[in-house]
Amino acid sequence: MRSDRAPLGLRIAAFAGLAFLHLPILLIFVYAFTTEDKSYQWPPPGFTTHWLGVTWNRPDVWEALSLSLRVAAISTCIALILGTLAAAAVSRAAFWGREAVTLLVILPIALPGIITGIALRSAFNLGEIPFSTLTIVLGHATFCIVVVYNNTVARFRRISGSMLEASADLGANGFQTFAHVVLPNIATALLAGGMLAFALSFDEVIVTTFTAGQQATLPIWMLEELVRPRQRPVTNVVAMVVVIVTALPILAAYYLTRGGTDTAGSGK
């Protein structure tokens, strides 16, 4: 009989790797409660929940948080609509240049963010578009669309063509077919893609630095705070919130798509 337990050495190595990846995050949590606010001293001289209150009363934190949430929400909505349409076109229709479109849709996430950022900044300058929430949203939408597209395109491919024909054959018009056949079969992919897009947008830094004007999203605000040696643990409190806010949707997306491999076949 074969043992399904990995050798001890391999297990130690795996745990060490995971610890290396995740312990620094715990460090951030610890520093959020330290009594020392000028430098990151280890071990912390004492623990306090004082900084939670201080953070709560800082208006600049709220501004940055609200901007980040708005940008993420709008980018995700744009991505859901455009990404789904692109996925539907690429997977369902045959048209000239389909391969090129497939590549072009995925390109923004393959390109370094700095290239996307510089390109967009030059384009906004040329078009004399003032930097605002809108320009940040446009920058984020470029990679959010890819995330939604990638999630839904696989699902679209699994909807057999005869299923859509069957729906029409049974008297459904195009909207009814979309509502009763297509949407239920891509719903979890949309949810997962949307959550990933939201999380990506929420902690994006590089593209944002090029497309934002005077405004600061939460990650940008954090970068600025790190430079100033004043009320440092406030940054850690915010970082803790960011970790929680981004981790939850990604976890949810993981669980939602995990069981999605056996949906929407042709039924054979």
């Binding site: 029409a168 054959d169 056996d262 039924g267």
Partner: protein, 339 residues
């Protein structure tokens, strides 16, 4: 075609081309045929012969390049698939995986705006008709192939279509299940009295189930008639070959055996084995194929191979033996075409 019975579906010189206009692929090439109401009509042919395209022209998923399709006398070109009085049983069944069996069957009524209670009652009635009562709450993934096939049938029939289109519906089933479903489909068609248009590449299926059969080749109908017509009087060599029941005799072989100098067909059952020299032609036994009730004896003659179907009660020759072959003069059936 008896003109007294109304036509359910009429093809009027219908052509359907695919691909570029310069070098089109003629999937359907000048098909004219009438399907009478209440008829079990089989479209028989090898894959790529245009039979499935003809079915899709009736359901509306394809539009004719030229010609007209009339459904109950009405020109159908302007009617989209969802407004035609026809329903389809798809080859892969195309059940909706996210809906229960009951909701799958109730899909058509739901699209028509029928309230939940009425449509669920109608669905249960149809499930009972296809012997799937009690399966309503299951998902299609939890059914066997034969059961899915019945759900697809119930889902189409619940809409009370005037014409039911079946696209090789039995192709994915094993032999025993297929034979059972053939009988059920036939009795279902007779009890419901609606027109069935059935696409198949299985000649046995077409001949045993249909009232009328159209044999397709290269986008054209090469012969249309009753199963007896097709089986006993194939019009061309293609039909004789495809239906597979008959020997095809070249003009030389036919003349040598005392028949007309034309392409002729000769059914294996009509051929009897005799002593060498006593029959119309003599040859050596090439092979014996035991089929249960009969044995197919293939005899190599100077003009080509001929197969005799010998009933189990009669003695069989040995392989390599020299035998004579005899048949009644009227068993030889003349066919069209020289090539």
């Amino acid at each position: 075609m008896p003109l007294a019975t109304p036509l359910a579906v009429e093809f009027d010189n219908v052509t359907r081309h695919f691909g570029p206009a310069g070098a089109p692929v003629r999937a359907v090439d000048g098909v004219s045929v009438g399907i009478t109401e209440g008829c079990f009509f089989a479209m028989l042919g090898p894959s790529g012969s245009g039979k499935t395209t003809c079915l899709r022209l009736i359901s509306g998923f394809e539009r004719p390049t030229s010609g007209h399709i009339r459904i109950f006398g009405q020109n159908s070109e302007a009617i989209p698939p969802n407004r035609r009085p026809v329903n389809t049983v798809f080859q892969d069944y195309a059940l909706f995986p996210h809906l229960t069996v009951r909701d799958n069957v109730a899909y058509g009524p739901r699209m028509a705006g029928v309230d939940r209670r009425t449509r669920h009652a109608a669905a249960e009635e149809m499930l009972a008709l296809v012997k799937l009562s009690g399966y309503g709450d299951r998902k299609p993934a939890a059914l066997s192939g034969g059961q899915r096939q019945r759900v697809a049938l119930a889902r189409a029939l619940v809409n009370r279509p005037r014409v039911l289109l079946l696209d090789e519906p039995l192709g994915a089933l094993d032999l025993k299940l297929r034979e059972a479903m053939q009988e059920e489909l036939k009795s279902l068609q007779q009890s419901l009295g609606i027109t069935f248009v059935f696409v198949t590449h299985d000649q046995g299926e077409a001949l045993s189930m249909a009232d009328r059969v159209a044999v397709f080749n290269d986008g054209k109908i090469v012969q249309e008639g009753t199963p007896q017509d097709i089986y006993e009087r194939p019009r061309t060599r293609f039909v004789a070959d495809f239906v597979g029941s008959a020997n095809v005799l070249s003009p030389e072989l036919s003349a040598r055996a005392g028949g007309p100098a034309r392409w002729t067909s000769l059914r294996g059952e009509a051929v009897a084995l005799t002593a060498p020299g006593a029959g119309r032609i003599t040859g050596t036994v090439r092979s014996l194929r035991y089929m249960g009730a009969v044995t197919r004896v293939t005899v190599a003659t100077p003009g080509g191979d001929l197969t005799a179907t010998v009933p189990a009660a009669l003695p069989l020759p040995a392989q390599g033996a020299t035998v004579g072959l005899h048949w009644p003069a009227d068993a030889l059936h003349e066919m069209e075409g020289g090539a």
